[in-house]
Amino acid sequence: MHRALTVIHALGLMLVVFSAAYVIPVTTSLIYGDRTMLLDFLLAMAWTFAAGVLMWLLTRRHKGELSIRHGYLLVVAMWMAMPAFATIPLLMMLPGLSFTDAYFETMSGLSTTGATVLTGLDTLPPAINVWRHELQWLGGLGIIVLAVAVLPLLGIGGRQLFKAEMPGPMKSAGLTPRIADTARNLWVVYVAITLVCIGALKWAGMGWLDAVCHGFSAMGLGGFSTHDDSVGYFNSPLIEFVLIVFMLFAVINFATHFLAWHGKTLGIYWHDTEAKAAIGLILVSCFGIAVFLWWNGTYPEFLTALRHASFNVVSIGASSGFASVDYGKWPIFAPMWMLFVGCIAASSGSTGGGIKMIRTLVLVKQAGREFLKLLHPSVVNPMKIGGQVIPNSIVFAVLGFIFLYFMTIATLTFVLLISGMDFISAFSAVVACVNNFGPGLGAVGPASNYQGLNDFQTWICTFAMLVGRLEIFTVLILFTPHFWRR
């Protein structure tokens, strides 16, 4: 029991860190002179801060080193507590909003999913919109990674937390000797690219508020927008192009960005097999779908087809979730292929969701290995990606992950089917939530949103987002009997 108190102690400290996130919406409401919002956000900040301090103080006698299993517990607990505290301003601002929907919204934000239950986004106060987008940005690289970065003296197994939150089978924890430095460097790169992105969006024609919000959600590969029509509202090829570029940036491992920045060389990108595969798959898909849409007459002009295909394929493929048109109306091949790409394309260590390209590569190579083994029974062919040998233990871990991934999708789809949803909506909702890209098809397609779901269905989707963001193992491990055994 007292170990659980150790977790609560650390959790309290992290909530204190998290409460600092309210600074941005507070500033926004100051800029816009919105007194009610200012008060709401200050109150929410105070609540979060107070709760954190209280938890920290009450358990201060249990301060101690966290074991591996408590690292998992802490990460999951933090990922459940953050959305809960983040709902405070939403609930205060929108009295009609249920806690279920508010929690869905903040979880969707933090997990960078980008699915929304809100309509009338255009009329929301700027501070609320900034808050939603900031959540996406924080969740993108990971709030716990941030905590590890700013709290090197946290005294809690930083490396363990880092691993539990950072996506991908092989963690980029080895960039620098100290994990706190690694985390800090990743965040510095992240902040720098985000600032450039915001500047570029402003230059492309957005207002400051829109630029900041879309910069946040593009870099976090979230997909929230300040408009009900998402990016389609701007109807600007230039804005779409800028977003495409930065989404492609965000789909690459931030460790690679760091190395490129640190070494002042672009050659690093060429050596990142995962990035090459991810970008390659997305670009080929863009072109292929553009040809497909043009060929079957959805868009009579090829350039129009290319524009819409590019933006939406990159958006869904990178697990972002912006939409510029209602691609749900495209012939079913196109959106299904986009969902498929979205499941596999993002790199490990990026802000995207899904299986991750590195795991896809491992699976493809594993299939090749099996073929070679059949032809040459004595062959020794270790898994190699980009010239680097991947140990078999990782291959097995990937196989285990894939199994759990598909089982999660299947199980949750069945649960939604039981609850009465139609197949396409249920399946696409689960896929969109587990892979953190947001809009699905059918009832949850790009033209509508998750508002139509009942409370039960909303909670299922919320759970799917959490499981997907923390890459399944971290969450499901809490449900194994071994975890709770001493």
């Binding site: 040459h376 029974p377 004595s378 062959v379 020794v380 062919n381 270790p382 190699k384 010239g387 040998v389």
Partner: protein
């Protein structure tokens, strides 16, 4: 000359053996006293047991008045340290180190005077790898040795029925392919050497050494025997230092299969090699060979460090239908036994690699030395210096030079030009002269001939 050899392994002892007969004072240092005893029983030299990287050992071995230090221990690091110490503490004039690791070789500044003070570094495995690569490039040849940075080559080939030259005198070469310049340097018939003359008739089974510009090798080879298709599939047994390097050198241009019997090494090799099929198994396992279609293999190389295994697996491969088999054989007695039988080429690593060491030790400006026929014969590339006054070769026609019987000037490389060693060619200063010597005893005379004497007349 006083020579200090560190390391009495394969390389060290072969060097010692070949230098001891050239009237040098040799001291050999090794940490293994048994190896030294064996060496001292056979050869007239001094030995010392100790760590070759310790100054005290070096001092005892007489490094203070040593002319040449040969650091050829198994360990790159010991060799580097020994060279550094020799340079810094004892001012040894010439320091040669054996360096295996590609990591050091990739950074040549490691060897310069500011760092480890290595005058020349040699890597026997690399030399052997290049040697075998040449043999795979020309599967008909028994030996392909390069001179003058690869501009000219000396090639050994066994004449076979079907080659246009077989059964005809050597002068036929000139009329048959007037556009290709070549010169036959020596012919060995049933292990006895013939001095090649224009009327010498080439017989089936003769081992012929000829010199040609490297680009012409294939057309000259086709005179001696029927040509096969170029090699495509290579099978290597043994993934040690040599097998690994060879696979790496070949894997881009050939289909390479590598058999290794140690599972751990297999995994390491498979990680390192990109296009080679690494197979876990025994090189003498005929089932594995059949399973991997040894019959379709163009060149089979047995390169483990076990002579008997290499011989056996080569024999199995040949029986299984491999076109050309090469076996690495360390014990020189075995080389004579199997060469020319079912095994096409028996490679003696010591003799392949020793030439590169000898070139540094020899007097006169010797650029390249290749040891031939297990050390009995030698091919040298010497650089002519001086003028008609100070040198006994420069400014003279080849037939005016006082060469000992059994030595022939095969070719002269002048700049980028390869000139065949016909009697009317005159040697100029800075020419690289390739001399073929059928008996090693004459090497000293040749070296003397090329030395520049001050006040010769």
């Amino acid at each position: 000359m006083k020579i200090l050899i560190l390391g009495a392994g394969q390389v060290g002892s072969t060097v010692a053996e070949s230098l001891v007969s050239e009237a040098n004072d040799i001291t050999v240092v090794d940490s293994d006293g048994d190896k030294l005893r064996v060496l001292q029983d056979r050869l007239d030299l001094r030995t010392l047991t100790g760590n070759a990287a310790h100054p005290s050992t070096l001092e005892q071995a007489g490094i203070a008045d040593t002319d040449i230090l040969l650091a050829v221990t198994q360990s790159d690091e010991v060799n580097l340290v020994a060279c550094k110490l020799a340079a810094s503490l004892y001012n040894t004039p010439t320091r040669i180190a054996r360096i295996r690791s590609a990591d050091y070789l990739a950074r040549s500044e490691v060897f310069n005077a500011d760092n480890f003070c290595v005058d020349f570094s040699i890597c026997p495995e690399q030399i052997l790898t290049e040697y075998i690569t040449k043999l795979i490039e020309f599967p008909e040849a028994l030996q392909v040795l390069e001179f003058a940075d690869g501009k000219a080559s000396l090639v050994a080939v066994r004449a076979f029925e079907g080659g246009p030259l077989v059964g005809k005198p050597l002068s036929f070469l000139r009329t048959h392919m007037p556009q290709v310049e070549t010169r036959v340097a020596a012919i060995f018939r049933k292990d006895r050497s013939l001095i090649p003359k224009g009327d010498t008739v080439v017989e089936d089974g003769d081992e012929i050494f000829f010199i040609a510009a490297t680009g012409n090798i294939r057309s000259v080879l086709s005179e001696m025997r029927r040509m096969d298709k170029p090699a495509k599939r290579v099978m290597i047994v043994g993934g040690g230092n040599i097998g690994r390097r060879l696979a790496k050198a070949l894997e881009r241009d050939y289909q390479v299969k590598l058999i290794e019997h140690n599972k751990k090494s297999c995994e390491k090799l498979a990680g390192e090699l990109a296009n080679t099929l690494v197979l876990y198994g025994d090189g003498t396992d005929e089932k594995l060979m059949q399973q991997e279609h040894v019959g379709d293999v163009d060149v089979f190389c047995a390169l483990t460090n076990d002579d008997e295994n290499n011989i056996m697996s080569s024999l199995l491969a040949k029986q299984g239908g491999a076109r050309k088999v090469i076996a690495l054989i360390n014990r020189s007695a075995y080389v004579g036994l199997v060469q020319g039988g079912k095994i096409d080429i028996a490679l003696s690593p010591a003799y392949v690699t020793i030439g590169s060491l000898l070139a540094y030790v020899r007097q006169g400006d010797v650029a390249v030395v290749h040891s031939l026929r297990r050390g009995a014969a030698e091919a040298l590339e010497l650089v002519a210096h001086g003028d008609r006054q100070s040198s006994r070769v420069v400014g003279r026609r080849i037939d005016e030079i006082d060469l000992p019987e059994g030595a022939t000037i095969g070719a002269v490389v002048r700049g980028d030009q390869v000139i065949m060693g016909h009697r009317d060619v005159s040697i100029e200063a800075e020419d690289h002269v390739i001399v073929f010597v059928i008996n090693k005893a004459m090497v000293r005379k040749i070296e003397k001939l090329f030395q520049v004497s001050i006040g010769f007349f």
